[in-house]
Symmetry: C2
């Protein structure tokens, strides 16, 4: 444990070559012709010493790293988005990037950008565009990031925006409830911090779908809590709602249970639509109608990142990412 960390100088000494040669061989540089026997000697010496190249030293020499930094999302984002992030990381690693997630530790805006910049990533993929800001983007670029890509509802000056317009989710739910004849539609607004970025545009989408139809849209606050759901169910009849968009499938399960315990039938009393198409929705009775959210493949986005690192100006500044499709089952 107190053994010194082997360096490239140790490898060079053991292999009987220069440090530059070690660097050329281990970084697979083709700029310089090095004979096969020499290459083999370097690899064997590195193996014998247990030498691991230092990414930081390499990036200091190269002037940039192969590190893609993805801040951890602030809120638990659900299985769908997790699968998407995981596929994106795989695809980036196949393109020889090192993907690290930066722990969400209360930093926002320029302060977060400064902390990320210390790691000198060549690209930053930031969920939650809204709190990075143009100054944060500029700071990251000054520190060597060739691509700053945001995921979220807004565009940020200087960054490439992958727009995830959650309004399309609300629009799909609203249009479906209206087509089934619902005329006074509740929209559940979760009270957990961090979810506004999703819940606000989803509610806006329901309102957009109702424009010009004469139908009413009513926002209903609901914390993710059994007692609160029971209290809401107890005053449900007084709200006069005949349909509800429950924000997502988990809130739909919470609300459906509370309504059923109160003797309010779904869908006869109130038609209900969730979102995200989780397994649990299929296990409810009645089976939950939901909005399936479609994300592009991680492969596709990894290639976008790679193109932007090669030529930051080659891509259009924004593209729309989310697709939304209604899955009709029994609840509404």
């Amino acid at each position: 444990m107190t053994r010194a960390v082997p360096t490239s100088a140790d490898v060079a000494r053991l292999a009987g070559v220069s440090r530059a040669t070690v660097s050329y061989v281990l970084n697979n540089t083709n700029a310089v012709r090095i004979s096969e026997p020499t290459r083999r000697r370097v690899h064997e010496a590195a193996k014998e010493l247990g030498y691991v190249p230092h990414a930081a030293a390499r990036s200091l020499r190269a002037g940039h790293s192969r590190m893609v930094l993805m801040p951890t999302p602030a809120v638990s984002v659900g299985p769908l988005y997790n699968r998407f992030l995981s596929e994106l990381q795989w695809s980036l690693s196949r393109l020889d990037y090192t993907v690290v997630q930066y722990g969400r530790v209360g930093l926002t805006g320029e302060e977060a950008a400064r902390a990320w910049a210390e790691l000198r990533p060549v690209a930053v993929l930031a969920p939650g565009a809204h709190d990075l800001g143009p100054q944060g983007v500029a700071l990251l670029k000054r520190s060597g990031a060739r691509a700053v890509i945001t995921f979220g509802p807004y565009q940020v000056d200087g960054a490439h925006a992958l727009l995830m317009d959650q309004r399309s989710v609300g629009r799909a739910a609203g249009a479906h409830l209206l087509a089934r004849g619902r005329r006074r539609i509740g929209v559940i607004i979760p009270q957990e911090p961090g979810l506004e970025a999703f819940s606000r545009p989803r509610a806006d989408g329901v309102r957009e779908s109702a424009e010009g139809t004469g139908a009413q849209v009513v926002e209903v606050a609901l914390p993710y809590d059994e007692g609160a759901a029971a209290r809401l169910a107890a005053r449900w009849r007084s709200l006069g709602l005949d349909g509800v968009f429950a924000y997502n499938d988990e809130y739909a399960m919470l609300l459906m249970r509370a309504l059923q315990d109160e003797g309010i039938a779904v869908p006869d009393g109130t038609g209900m639509v969730g979102a995200d198409d989780l397994m649990l929705g299929r296990l409810l009775r009645p089976r939950l109608s939901t909005v399936r959210v479609e994300l592009p493949s991680g492969q596709e986005l990894a290639e976008l990142v790679d193109r932007m690192v090669s030529d930051p100006s080659a891509e259009p500044p924004a593209r729309q990412l989310l697709g939304a499709e209604l899955v009709e089952r029994e609840s509404g």
Copy 2:
């Protein structure tokens, strides 16, 4: 965008001081006395230029970094463990560590250790101890990691083990079902890859609880899939089980729905216990009995990491992390 990255030399020039002084001031070194006006001048110059210290360069000078590396768990680990990881990251950042998660990109064993070592972390917190191996631990330590800490069921030579003995979860479930008079107990084994590390020891725990009681324990494979659950429910009566430990609350929900659709009553026909105490268990009818898993505070573990970084030999090589407590509701 093409502006050069400002360096500490630029800051030194603007502030009219040496690069060493810039380094002393910005790294808050107290070894050298520097006047307040000089400190102020350095900070102002850094701000004006938008200078961000390079973590890598700093760690090259210091010989070690303040980076704690946590590989992303291979499988989705549920809200409880996510909350724990998030609290741990907060606590580490308050102790001035930079926490990065390394994307799970198919690397295991020594290959994974090599990729992590390139970032020269001062500590590694690795979930999934089993695939790192003693060689991986040694390699990380040779590359400067002062603490290598594994989470999982096993101990790995050279690493500090935070043992998460999932058997205690199975034991709590088994003991409860036995106390309720169940004599032939099924144990659900999920078929999703990556879950064996949890499901095997949980099943072992149920078996341990039944030792010497004359009760039988039967393993039952179940993929997380509606059709498979329906097929299992159709042959449930032929299995002759009067109790079941459903691996976790999500599998319990899947199985309970399939049994109820098949006309098998819970708990009268089959008593059922889940695990993890998720909200959805409370929303089922009958309400799901479950095993609540208790993890230590992130604060406590962050302090352990900090002590190990200061003095790697000061801590005992292992400690038990998991507590398990049965929560009785209505299903079993």
